[in-house]
Symmetry: C2
Subunit: 347 residues, 2 copies
């Protein structure tokens, strides 16, 4: 069986902000002679997820942040794996049949060959949501938001919650989960449009455009006259320092992402450790992969919230494999509102 | 009743490293006309604790670290409260009688007037330990070490534990508790003498003199070829950064003190947040006052370990109220080994 697979790769490692010239669209003729004992599943990709953390996998291991050997490196020239949704094109495995809808670790390309042991699950189509939801709000972005907020932050109703990159794929969900719990929620974002979106569309109690603030500490003091109990950190850097300075006793910081530090290792946060001691603050890094214990709860709650209209999800969808590099680069320029997804093919 | 009370005070707020000229010994004639309904307890101080954290209370609130309003400020000219052991000289309260041994919040002086509601407990003399132990290993230093290690770090036998300022009042106990649990323990300290002391006297698996290391990251890599699971942080700054870089997945940092930052706000730690995320590291500040739930357990275990010789405590005792300023200043020059205590009077 022959297919022509168009996919995205990096030309070399990327150690700063990503640029179009770092990427390449390759077309490869792939011949499958899948033997009957093969466990490979060939998937036609439909939607793929575009996430900032991928940049950490594109860095050279000798970079100043090269200790991040925990993130599996992406090899220049090879395909880039990414969460996504697709349809089985070929499989000898009894658990995956041709035509099955699946979600799992696919690639930034038209087709994926998913090896045994790699993340792949059949998708339940009875839910009746757009397929793209399974890449975002019902996929890893949703789980990260739900589990990161409820499991890592251990929030209580009435607590004061701050979310940075609040209009992003995870932030816009965290803020809504926090509102649904009965928290006071403030988000930061990088434009007036996003600020309005958070307050008017998503029901945040307050929001601010960090680019308009000369002093983040004062901005947070203004938004949180009673202090911050929970900070869901997507950006790191100066914002983390300002949040710690405004935190209440026994405050919790869930470190989900540090986008301000991904492409610039010199913006590292130096929070005031005296605050951390005297206010008994906990700062905790986490990965969605560790939150599978709440997956079932996350899914049932989130489906319920979506169906009742209590939770809104916003998607920013580009079309075609060719749009992947610019979609990815746009994440670091704050171009997207909500979850960034590329639609690779029609269903 | 008249007493002449000699006590230590600060002349003005202190915003850098403390110097002799910042302190003053005052002598005051105090007349007590304690009415029968007074709840004040007058205590003759015997031993007082000398702790680095007090410097944070001496700073002016307008300093760059002035957000630390959580630590009750020490007012220039007034007496300085501190944990200590003494004997009741005068009391109308039925729970404290003249001659009773007590431990609690006394002052850096010859006498303390302890108000109702302030920390004061009768000391059980049947334990048979030197009275000074109740200021250190059986007092707040011990509780901080025990609770900070077991409750905050949640260590398991076999885990790799790093302790900074390991020859200090708290560090030298943490390392021994960790050894008693069955951990691999490495300490850092500021001299060859202290390094030897940790390895030869206290049974640490390894130790290093941080002043002899050009690269703390490499030093920790050498001492922890399998990585660090638990870091008990007494110093902050570059050491915290190096520890985070060498940490294993799900590593825990208990932030007990940041002595490198107390007198120099420019040495703030900027740990690599990518490490914190990918390795799911938890950084947690704590205060001994929050650990009272393990007080009984701490005391019974520690008494047992001391009696059986499994735990050694080291004290560095100066004599007389006049020695308090230099004893305190010495903490920031690394002069003490073990718990720094001033003996104010004979029993």
């Amino acid at each position: 069986m022959d297919i022509k697979n168009k996919y995205v790769t990096i030309k070399t490692n990327i150690n700063g902000a990503p640029k179009e010239s770092n990427f390449e669209i390759k077309v490869e003729n792939v011949s499958f002679i899948i033997e009957s004992e093969s466990k490979d599943v060939v998937v036609k990709n439909l939607f793929v997820s575009i996430d900032p953390y991928q940049i950490n996998r594109m860095k050279s291991q000798s970079s100043s942040q090269g200790t991040i050997s925990f993130a599996t490196a992406i090899t220049p020239g090879e395909s880039i794996d990414s969460y996504g949704v697709g349809r089985v094109l070929f499989s000898h495995r009894p658990d995956f049949k041709k035509g099955d809808l699946v979600a799992g670790l696919l690639t930034w390309g038209e087709y994926s060959i998913v090896k045994e042991g790699s993340l792949l699950n059949k998708l339940d189509p009875i839910m009746g949501f757009p397929l793209s939801y399974h890449v975002g709000v019902l996929g890893f972005s949703g789980l990260t938001a739900y589990g990161g907020f409820f499991e890592v932050c251990k929030p209580k109703p009435g607590e004061k919650v701050f979310v940075s990159a609040a209009s992003g794929s995870i932030g816009h969900l965290v803020g809504q989960y926090a509102k649904l719990l009965g928290c006071y929620v403030v988000g930061s974002a990088g434009s007036q449009e996003k600020e309005n979106f958070l307050k008017e569309r998503l029901g945040f109690d307050d929001a601010f455009n960090y680019k308009q603030e000369t002093d983040l500490k004062s901005a947070l003091k203004r938004c949180f006259p009673q202090g911050i109990d929970v900070y869901f950190d997507n950006v790191g850097g100066r914002m983390l320092e300002a949040a710690v300075a405004n935190m209440n006793s026994f405050g919790r910081v869930a470190v989900c992402g540090v986008i301000s530090e991904y492409t610039n290792a010199t913006t590292r946060a130096a929070p005031e450790m005296l605050d951390i001691i005297y206010k008994r603050i906990t700062i905790k890094g986490f990965l969605a992969a560790d939150l599978m214990n709440v997956y079932a709860e996350f899914l049932s709650k989130t489906v319920e919230y979506l169906k009742s209209g209590k939770l809104k999800t916003i998607e920013d969808v580009s079309q075609g494999v060719e749009s992947i590099p610019s979609a990815f680069i746009g994440l670091f320029n704050g171009e997207n509102i909500g979850k960034k997804i590329v639609k690779v093919a029609d269903e």
